[in-house]
């Protein structure tokens, strides 16, 4: 296990976090790379990083010098409504050309309203770069649909090309978004590991299909692991210590719910059939068809909503709770019943207002998400360093992911 040490220059307060075992034991003094001051290296001030434990203590308060830094979302739905409606109209009248600018404005607003330790996040993407990516994406989409039109046989190689492009697109999209997100003027990063991307987004899904889904939880585990471990905050990589068996547990729980609700629907249908009065005549059976269909529809809707929310919540908690950065780690405490209520009320509000409540729904989801995420850390977030190798990333992957709808949702 690696422990980290933060060395801070007493002169200019420049700080650097390094793995403790990279400092030779004989070294007693160091020279600050920032101001050139030489100073004595003291004994490690930090206790060793906490042992990786998948289950976090329920109370994450102040403990032995550990700080719980809360995420916080400050945006008001009314303000976002203005941004949303103006950008929607502009997108419509420009036939989508404006979407790059709309995306940047939307993300700038959401990032700028997300706070950690007194500082907001910032989205830095250049809309012009996104627009170039959008043009490439639209071109590819047109080519893809044209291939099927010219000759139905061409749809097969086109589909295969799309399948093979997905891992690349996902990596490029993550690189673009991380590179353009910052906190405390330190940009996030994503290391391009295409080999691993093809393993988790092409090879493992194929194997999980062949194994009739038995490998599916493992695939999800590897995908989440991939996303966390390739990401970095400045030069500090994010680490992941959740276990594959925890993902199997989540899917087992979800299956249990699935069977339970299916059972309830079955029992309700049976009771309805038996309890219906005066059904001597089998010809009257069609009278029951209406209520039966309604019941079935509501049941199936409930089933899919509960199933989706259950998986979303538990996977999000599991993934965040397994994510470490520097000497700190994240803790996510989403609750299934809360999110179930949020989703259902959002759905109803959006349906009743023909979509006008979408901004409100998005804001309340963001507020809830932030209110249930903390970063537990030693002291303030002062000692992260920028990644000097960080380069500009093109936006083609990001826009392709959007247009072909292959983006990975890691928001929650």
């Amino acid at each position: 296990m690696t422990t980290y040490r933060t060395i801070t220059c007493p002169q200019c307060r420049f700080a650097k976090t390094v793995p403790a075992d990279t400092i030779p034991a004989a070294v007693t003094s160091v020279t600050c790379p920032q101001c050139g001051t030489s100073f004595a290296l003291e004994e490690p001030a930090l206790p060793p990083a906490p042992p990786p434990s998948p289950s976090l203590p329920a109370d994450h308060g102040h403990k032995e010098g550990r700080h719980t830094l809360n995420f916080h979302f400050s945006g008001a739905a009314r303000e976002y409504f203005g941004i949303w409606i103006v950008n929607t109209v502009l997108k419509i009248v420009t036939f989508g050309i404006y979407s790059a600018w709309a995306k940047v404005r939307k993300r700038r607003w959401f990032y700028g309203n997300t706070w950690l330790d007194g500082h907001a996040f910032e989205y830095l993407a250049d809309p012009k770069a996104l627009f170039k990516g959008w043009l490439i994406g639209v071109g590819a989409l047109m080519l893809y649909s044209a291939a099927g039109k010219i000759d139905p046989l061409l749809a097969i190689p086109a589909g295969l090309a799309l399948f093979l492009a997905i891992p690349w697109v996902i990596v490029r999209s993550r690189m673009f978004n991380n590179r353009n997100s910052s906190h405390r003027n330190i940009r996030f990063g994503f290391r391009a590991n295409y080999r691993e991307a093809y393993t988790v987004y092409a090879w493992l899904p194929l194997l999980s299909l062949l194994s009739l889904g038995l490998l599916y939880p493992y695939t999800v585990y590897r995908q989440r692991k991939f996303h966390v471990e390739q990401s970095s905050f400045g030069s500090a990589p994010l680490r992941f210590d959740a276990k594959a068996r925890d993902y199997y547990r989540v899917y087992a729980g979800a299956s249990l719910w699935f069977v339970l609700i299916l059972g309830i629907i079955g029992v309700a249908a049976t009771l309805l059939l038996q309890g219906a009065p005066g059904l001597k005549n089998p010809r009257d059976l069609h009278l029951l068809l209406g209520p039966m269909l309604v019941l079935l529809y509501i049941g199936m809707l409930m089933l899919s909503v509960v199933f989706t929310v259950y998986l979303k919540v538990r996977l999000a908690n599991l993934t965040w709770n397994g994510t470490c950065l520097g000497s700190g780690r994240f803790a996510s405490s989403l609750r299934i019943q809360d999110l179930l209520w949020l989703y259902i009320s959002n759905l109803v509000a959006i349906a009743l207002t023909l979509g006008l409540m979408i901004p409100w729904a998005a804001v309340r989801l963001a507020r809830y998400r932030c209110a249930h995420l903390v970063f537990i850390h030693e002291g303030p977030l002062d000692n992260f360093l920028a990644d000097a190798q960080g380069k500009k990333v093109g936006a083609a992957g990001e826009e392709l992911a959007d247009l072909f709808d292959v983006g990975v949702e890691i928001g929650l």
Binding site: F14, W109, G112, S145, G148, L385
Partner: protein, 345 residues
């Protein structure tokens, strides 16, 4: 000169420096931890405003200053002179007037698209559908209707042959891109009715044949249904009922995706929730055919009136006989249609 306190980050580490920023003429000065940095104002970029998020100054060396003072940002922007695109967008987004205007415009655009755009796209998509698909939809719809709504015809064979001869006569006046077929059924719940299926099949109920004691009226009905088929009304109606399917079909050119909503076709045909425009078009087709054959339009109008009378009487029946339907219950505005038919010489 304008001064404010701000958080400075040098871009190399996440260490926060409490600083003061001064805007002095064409110079921006930042003081922190006993250091002072100075830049030309043109080199410093103020992050664009979105909503009320806090803004920051970006310096050419990668440093960033997080500002908390709106007065300072306003001052900085004023000095920058002129209004940028993002500044104008920001004002649009926060002004109540432009937000309300956008809302109205958005509703009008979406409403206009549903009113005019969807039918237009549906028409294009329906005419682009390969015949194989239409035949399949036709066959499946007929099977479903047979199973749930109609019964085998009880008309005597000689009557059927007579109607079939009329059908052949009318059909010759229509384009040959469909394998037109005439099917006889006992309407039962559908009453006196005629349906046009997408692949060229017309279903005529015994009740309608019996009610129309006049060959010319029956031919007009057949011409009306053939016009529905020629103009792909069944398919267009189906596509229009689902705007998302239309958009999908038009954008991707993947018309087969409508199979997802094709299951609703028999219900739609039985309810015949055709738009008034489709009915008007079909009536015009019938009238045109009658004219081309130098036949009077009056018998057709009389048949419609007779159907209307039947409908009115039946609707007044006791509640247990509710659900009585015929050709007209599914074709609205009979009075207006009769007037149109009679008006044409």
């Amino acid at each position: 000169m304008k001064t404010t306190s701000a958080d400075y980050f040098d871009g190399r580490s996440s260490l926060r420096h409490s600083s003061t920023v001064t805007l002095d003429g064409n110079q921006v000065r930042i003081c922190f931890d006993g250091q002072e940095l100075q830049y030309d104002r043109d080199q410093v970029r103020l992050s664009e405003a979105v909503g009320s998020i806090s803004r920051s100054l970006h310096f050419p060396d990668g440093g960033v200053c997080e500002l908390h003072d709106n007065g300072f940002t306003a001052c900085f922007e004023q000095k920058a002179g002129g209004s940028s695109l993002s500044g104008r967008l920001h004002r649009l987004e926060i002004s109540p007037a432009s937000v309300v205007a956008s809302l109205v415009l958005c509703i009008m655009l979406v409403g206009g698209f549903i009113q005019y755009g969807v039918p237009w796209l549906a028409k294009r998509a329906a005419f682009a559908l390969p015949p194989v698909m239409e035949e399949r939809l036709d066959r499946e719809s007929l099977e479903l209707l047979d199973r749930f709504l109609v019964k085998p015809s009880t008309l005597p064979p000689e009557k059927r042959h007579a109607v079939m001869r009329l059908f052949k006569q009318v059909q010759s006046g229509f384009p040959t891109d469909f394998p037109y077929r005439l099917e006889f059924r006992h309407g039962a719940k559908l009453g006196a009715n005629a349906l046009a299926l997408p692949g060229g099949t017309i279903m005529l109920t015994d009740e309608l044949v019996e009610l129309a004691d006049n060959d010319q009226a029956l031919m007009a009905v057949l011409a009306h249904e053939l016009t529905h088929i020629r103009n792909r009304h069944a398919l267009r109606g189906l596509l229009q009922s689902s705007a998302s399917a239309v958009i999908l079909a038009s954008v991707t050119g993947d018309i087969t995706s409508i199979t997802a909503i094709a299951a609703t076709l028999p219900a739609m045909l039985a309810e015949a929730r055709y738009s008034r425009d489709f009915e008007r078009e079909a009536d015009d087709g019938a009238i045109q055919w009658l004219h081309s054959q130098h036949l009077p339009t009056k018998p057709y109008a009389e048949l419609l009136a007779k159907l209307q009378a039947q409908l009115t009487v039946k609707s007044g029946a006791p509640p247990e006989k509710e659900g009585v339907r015929n050709y007209l219950s599914t074709h609205p505005d009979t009075a207006e249609r009769i007037r149109r038919i009679i008006r044409t010489p």
